[in-house]
């Protein structure tokens, strides 16, 4: 029945020559995800993708938190576009959902208010002596993975199947608000039924869980999370989602926004510490993955090279279900090859089942 509401997807994702804009949040919390994405696009799909050392923040989190004025943020975005223009690219690929929403919003405002665009051009020229072209194409990296999901499937060593039962894994998909809610028409399925993660999950063998609070915000809230006094707002939103999905017993959560991925991971720890409640099996949590991490483990990357050891909710039960081999002794080893010691164990959220 739902299908009748789905709008036809007109692919607006460029085929090649991507200018990658790194995300403060994804680099910090899911460092391996950005490297995996570049690797997949460049080496597995054979596409050209720029990783420019001159990049910097888009200032979006500062803007949405109310400490950076609109003109300043627009000019910071304009500098990123100038770097793209200087590098000879036209297809802008922001890794962060906040950036994705922001650059789309900025470009849309410039479209409706050309005098604003001229003012920002003037600011950038005065401040940095730079000029820029507005990108011809803005796509999120998840759009690119979605676009090439079939090609990637052919290269995958594993699938979203429980190797013990032979049944598809049950996956909750969470779409960051600034991906589909600001400009729903640009997204297949719109704000209600965005297809991007659903398409990956189904193509790679999993089953999508539908649950009441599926489209609810994770609760980041920008300024709400930034001060300790208001983090309860953020935790309460994630809790609402976790409570709503728990009865469906999902094997894991897949998200396209690095902020949402981090919050739904960390709040499971906080809720367990403060209330003793856990949402996964046997006192463990529900693992939360980025789509890059998911693609990587299905492709056979070492989970500890991708960064799965940096999640608070432990991923081993999921890897076991998928039949993915890993070396427990390698988990807490650093770049130098040295063992870095193990993190402390939480009070309530189990790190090993039946401990």
């Amino acid at each position: 029945m739902k299908k009748q509401y789905w709008t036809e997807y007109e692919s607006k994702v460029a085929d090649d020559h991507y200018y990658y804009e790194r995300s403060c949040i994804r680099q910090s919390f899911f460092t391996g995800s950005e490297e995996v994405f570049i690797n997949i696009v460049r080496d597995l799909l054979g596409k050209d993708i720029a990783d420019d050392m001159n990049l910097h923040t888009c200032s979006g989190i500062g803007y949405y938190s109310g400490v950076v004025p609109l003109d300043t943020t627009m000019t910071v975005v304009a500098r990123l576009f100038a770097l793209m223009t200087e590098a000879g690219y036209k297809n802008f690929v922001p890794s962060c959902i906040t950036s994705f929403g922001l650059v789309n919003e900025v470009v849309d405002m410039w479209h409706h208010f050309p005098e604003k665009l001229e003012q920002i051009r003037g600011y950038l020229k005065e401040a940095n002596g730079k000029e820029f072209d507005v990108p011809e194409n803005i796509a999120h990296p998840c759009d690119i993975i979605y676009k090439y999901r079939k090609e990637l499937k052919e290269k995958m060593k594993y699938s979203l199947t429980n190797v013990h039962t032979g049944k598809p894994l049950k996956v909750v998909e969470h779409i960051g608000c600034h991906y589909a809610k600001i400009f729903p028409r640009q997204v297949k399925g719109g704000a209600e039924f965005p297809q991007v993660l659903v398409g990956m999950i189904q193509e790679w063998g999993g089953e999508v869980v539908d649950y009441p609070e599926r489209r609810h915000c994770c609760g980041f809230g920008f300024s709400q999370y930034m001060v300790l006094a208001n983090r309860g707002y953020s935790a309460a939103n994630s809790k609402k989602k976790l409570e709503s999905m728990q009865p469906f017993k999902p094997d894991f959560i897949l998200a396209n926004c690095p902020g949402c991925t981090m919050f739904m991971d960390r709040w499971q720890y906080t809720i367990a510490e403060t209330e003793g409640i856990t949402y996964g099996e046997n006192g463990m949590g529900i693992p939360v993955l980025t789509y890059e991490e998911l693609a990587a483990i299905l492709l056979g990357y070492n989970p500890w090279d991708v960064g799965l050891q940096t999640h608070q909710v432990q991923v081993e039960p999921l890897l076991d279900k998928m039949g993915i081999k890993y070396d427990p002794k390698d988990k807490y080893v650093g770049k130098s090859g040295a063992f870095l010691g193990e993190p402390e164990k939480p009070t309530h959220l189990k790190v090993k089942a039946y401990e």
């Binding site: 949040i25 990049l55 803007y63 938190s65 609109l70 300043t72 993190p343």
Partner: protein, 235 residues
């Protein structure tokens, strides 16, 4: 006072974000902040549409405009194409420019956000970087984060990062040229003045509240007050 209405009505967020609100309340129904706080985006539209300068100035001095989580779920839903979240973004900017933000407990928190997030942008070129997420300010991040924080270069670089080093790659050091350009952008576009306004007004408020305020975060009594305390009764 006319200055206030002029500032609001000239902003593209006002022109883009408020057509004619029919008070249906759909935005309030979808709004996660309305679920959690005593906050109503429809009310914000009403006050703005009234063009009553006194009422708008009052709104800018309350906690209400700081409750929104900027998720923009309201943009998807409004049958009239209004965007309460966009109006909030404008009202927050105006509240700071007019110096009204220190009148409310929630508004005063902008000082803590400027000291952390805001200053990080011009100092490091990142809104957020591993080195900024200090475990003592972020107990909710948990023990695995503490482990990452303690071993950040080893852990980041194992994942292909280039932690605080020159060149490209995740978590790299942002080049001096980019930082110089970012600071210049803040100067030319008013971002620097905006930061100074937050500081100036916060210093005034700190002295009224008899809280010590310093440039440093670590021994800054006012910073910790607005960062973690929630003592006053909010309407």
């Amino acid at each position: 006072m006319a200055e206030l209405l002029d500032m609001i009505s000239a902003d593209i967020r006002y022109i883009d974000g408020l057509k004619a609100c029919m008070n249906c309340g759909v935005c309030t129904a979808i709004c996660p902040a309305a679920e959690f706080y005593n906050y109503d985006p429809r009310d914000v539209c009403n006050t703005l549409m009234s063009k009553d300068e006194v009422a708008i100035a009052e709104l800018l001095k309350t906690d209400k405009i700081w409750h929104c989580g900027q998720c923009l779920s309201c943009k998807t839903r409004c049958p009239r194409g209004n965007v309460p979240g966009l109006l909030i973004s404008l009202l927050r900017e105006v509240s700071i420019r007019m110096g009204y933000f220190t009148e409310s407990e929630e508004g005063r928190r902008q000082y803590a956000i400027k000291k952390t997030l805001g200053e990080h942008i011009v100092d490091s070129g990142y809104c957020v970087h591993v080195m900024h997420v200090k475990p003592h300010l972020h107990p909710e991040q948990g023990p695995v984060w503490e482990w990452y924080f303690k071993n950040s270069e080893e852990v980041a670089d194992r994942q292909g990062g280039n932690y605080n080093k020159e060149g490209s790659g995740a978590l790299r050091k942002i080049s001096e040229e980019s930082l110089k350009d970012l600071r210049k952008i803040f100067e030319v576009t008013g971002g620097k003045d905006f930061f100074e306004q937050i500081d100036r007004q916060s210093k005034k408020k700190a002295s009224e509240l008899k809280k010590n305020i310093t440039d440093n975060v670590d021994d800054n009594e006012y910073f910790y007050h607005v960062y973690r305390e929630k003592n006053e009764t909010q309407e």
